[in-house]
């Protein structure tokens, strides 16, 4: 069989190529994560001023907002890859979807936790059943439901397809979370950052928040790639390339 070195659209859809590429990328992703985190926390704690209304409690924003954004983005990415796997019968796409779920669930939990710890001093309560908080909690249940569902079904293909259905249907929750503060009268504040208007927060605060957002992005790539690589080894164990990899690692 002849192989070509030309880069095609589906070049990295092959588990072996994906495994090699991500193996090279992961250490760099961790380095980028570390640098951005240090920069973000430095700006957030030593450069950004104390807030006039909220004092220093607002500094939770530097992890709360990135976690919340990641929780929503990772769900959409998970649903996307699950749909691609379904449409094209692409094994690797299903593996990536499975690898995304625990990280997405973690960020959702952290968004809720840090939100509660910010809400208590600011609103006087750890929790309210307002539209944004409730829909974010539903997102956590969707993630956990996806993980439980794909692990409950023994037949891997059926598990992948059932998970894909849940992921795609559940994706409607993400725009609900995002627009909830606009559609309903919520306790949670409205958007400070929009695509069409200037941000309504101080520039140093915004800088720190964006640095931490990119740090969380790089983190997510690193950890999801690591998990996907493990899943690839498990699912492709009967292939020659995995066999020779295992032999080489002795």
């Amino acid at each position: 069989m002849t192989t070509t070195n030309r880069l095609r659209f589906f070049t990295f859809a092959a588990p072996q190529r994906f495994y090699r590429l991500t193996g090279a990328l992961v250490p760099w992703l961790w380095a980028v994560t570390a640098l951005l985190t240090v920069a973000g926390l430095y700006v957030g704690f030593f450069v950004a001023p104390t807030d006039a209304t909220q004092g220093d409690s607002y500094r939770i924003i530097f992890i709360h907002v990135p976690a919340a954004w990641m929780s929503m983005v990772l769900y959409l990415v998970m649903a996307f890859w699950a749909a691609i796997g379904w449409a094209f019968n692409a094994r690797l796409a299903f593996m990536v979807a499975r690898a995304l779920a625990p990280t997405g669930a973690m960020f959702t939990f952290l968004a809720l936790w840090t939100g509660a710890f910010w809400g208590k001093p600011t609103w006087g309560t750890w929790w309210v059943w307002d539209a944004r908080l409730t829909s974010e909690l539903i997102l956590l249940f969707l993630y956990l439901g996806y993980i439980a569902l794909v692990n409950a079904i023994d037949d891997q293909r059926r598990a992948d397809l059932a998970g894909a259905l849940l992921a795609v249907v559940g994706a409607v929750n993400v725009p609900i979370i995002y627009f909830s503060v606009k559609w309903w009268n919520t306790l949670h504040q409205g958007a400070s950052i929009s695509m069409t208007a200037a941000p309504t927060m101080a520039s140093t605060m915004l800088t720190a928040m964006l640095l931490m957002t990119f740090a969380f992005w790089a983190y997510a790539f690193a950890v999801v790639f690591t998990r996907t690589r493990a899943i690839v080894l498990e699912r492709e164990q009967h292939t020659e390339w995995v066999g020779s990899l295992a032999a080489a690692k002795r």
């Binding site: 500094r59 840090t114 710890f117 983190y219 950890v223 690589r229 493990a230 990899l245 295992a246």
Partner: protein, 45 residues
Amino acid sequence: MGGYGLYVWGSYVVTAAFMLAEPWLARRHHRRALRDLQLRREEQA
């Protein structure tokens, strides 16, 4: 933290704990997958 220490550090410590544990668990998953492959090869040999 201007009296908000419990809330700020309560957020950051839990976040750091999860974001240190998760990569460790993912790496462990990968190492175990490799180890299982090697054990299977030895059994077949």
